[in-house]
Symmetry: C2
Subunit: 198 residues, 2 copies
C-alpha cells in the first residue's frame, strides 16, 4: 500500500524494525577490490567473513521517490585495508545521496569521473551530502559497526563496473592504528588515457 | 562549490553546524491555522511566540538533488492545539519526503488530495517515509523541542495554499495531558464538493 510508514532502529545493532531486502556482502564478493591480493587470498582460504549488510526499503525506481535503508559495515581489515563497501557511481550520474551516521567511526571515499576526489569522516550524528556525479564507498575505520542511514533519488540506479575495474583513486589503510588516506597505485585517470589515445 | 560536505548536529539544540537559510515562523505567520481563533488572538495580543525554525542547506531545485535540513518545532500550545508547522503538499505532487527524528516527541499529520489521512508518531530515532502525494505537518506533542532531519527531491516545490484554506482533516489536541487526533470541523472533502457541483 502506498501509505506513510515508519521504522525504528535497534540501538547498537541498528537493524531497522521494518525492511524489504537484506543484502549481505561477504569477502568472496569483493574479489579484486582490495589492493593486497595476497592478504585477500589468505583470508578467503581461512573463511569468508561478512563485510557488510544493507537493509533496504522497497520503493518504485522513479524520480519522485526516495530509496532508503541502513548499511552496516562491520569492523575488520583485509591486510591493512579496512572493511568497506563495493562503492559505485549512480547509473544516472546527476543524482545525489545523503547519509546520516547512526553510529561507529568511518570514512566516505568519493570521486568524480573527472578525477576529483574527497574523503569525509563519519561519527554518530554526522550528516553527509554527496552532490550528483560523485562515486562513493563507505569504510569502517573503527572497532564497532559503522551504521549509516542512506537516501537517494528513486531513478538513480547503480554503476558498479567503473569502480570494479580499478577501485577508487584513494585507499584507506591502517598505519600503526591510524586511518590514513593514500593513493591507490592501481588507479589511472581514464579521461587522461582517453585523451592520450585520441 | 559542488563538492561533498558534512554537518554536525549540536545535541539538545539540534542546530546544524552548517546551513544556508534560517527560517523562523512566529505565531503571527500562522493566522487561520489554529482551530481556536480566540485563543490564537489572545496569545497574539500578549506576544508573538516563535513556533518553529527551519535550517536549510541550499541545493539546486532539480530532480537529481536532495533538499535537506533540520526543522525544530518548539513546545507549546495555542489553546489546546499543539505548536505545529504550516504543513504543505509538494507542488510536484508525485514527490516523497523522508524524516528522521533526532529528538523530542511529535506526530506527523498527513493527507492526500483524495481525502485519505494518516498520523504517525515521532520519538528519537524514528524514521518516517512519506510517499508521493501526501501533504504533511509536524506537530510537537512533548515538552522539549521536536527536531527532525528532512530530505526531499530537489524538484518537489511547495504548495501551502491548499492547506491554508481549510487546514488538515485531523487536528492534534491536548486532552487532559494526552495527545488526541480529532476531526477538524472546518475540513471538507474538496473532491466531493467538486463532484456535487459538476
Amino acid at each position: 500500500m502506498n501509505i506513510p510508514y515508519t521504522f525504528d532502529l535497534a540501538p547498537s545493532t541498528w537493524i531497522p524494525s521494518r525492511y524489504d531486502n537484506h543484502i549481505i556482502r561477504k569477502l568472496s564478493s569483493m574479489k579484486g577490490q582490495y589492493y593486497d591480493t595476497q592478504a585477500f587470498d589468505r583470508l578467503l582460504a581461512q573463511s569468508d567473513p561478512l563485510l557488510y549488510e544493507v537493509y533496504e526499503l522497497s520503493r518504485p525506481s522513479v524520480a519522485g521517490e526516495l530509496l532508503h535503508g541502513i548499511s552496516i559495515i562491520h569492523p575488520g581489515k583485509v591486510g591493512n585495508e579496512y572493511y568497506m563497501t563495493k562503492g559505485h557511481f549512480h547509473a544516472v550520474l546527476d543524482t545525489a545521496e545523503l547519509y546520516y551516521c547512526l553510529g561507529g567511526n568511518g570514512m566516505m571515499v568519493m570521486e568524480t569521473p573527472e578525477g576529483d576526489w574527497a574523503v569525509e569522516g563519519f561519527t554518530a550524528g554526522k550528516t553527509l551530502y554527496i552532490p550528483p556525479r560523485w562515486a562513493h564507498r563507505s569504510v569502517n575505520v573503527g572497532d564497532l559497526d559503522l551504521a549509516l542511514l542512506f537516501i537517494y533519488p528513486g531513478h538513480a540506479g547503480h554503476d558498479y563496473g567503473t569502480i570494479e575495474r580499478q577501485g577508487f583513486r584513494k585507499l584507506v589503510l591502517d598505519e600503526g592504528g591510524e586511518a590514513r588516506v593514500v593513493d591507490n597505485p592501481r588507479w589511472v585517470h581514464l579521461e587522461q588515457i582517453k585523451s592520450l589515445l585520441l
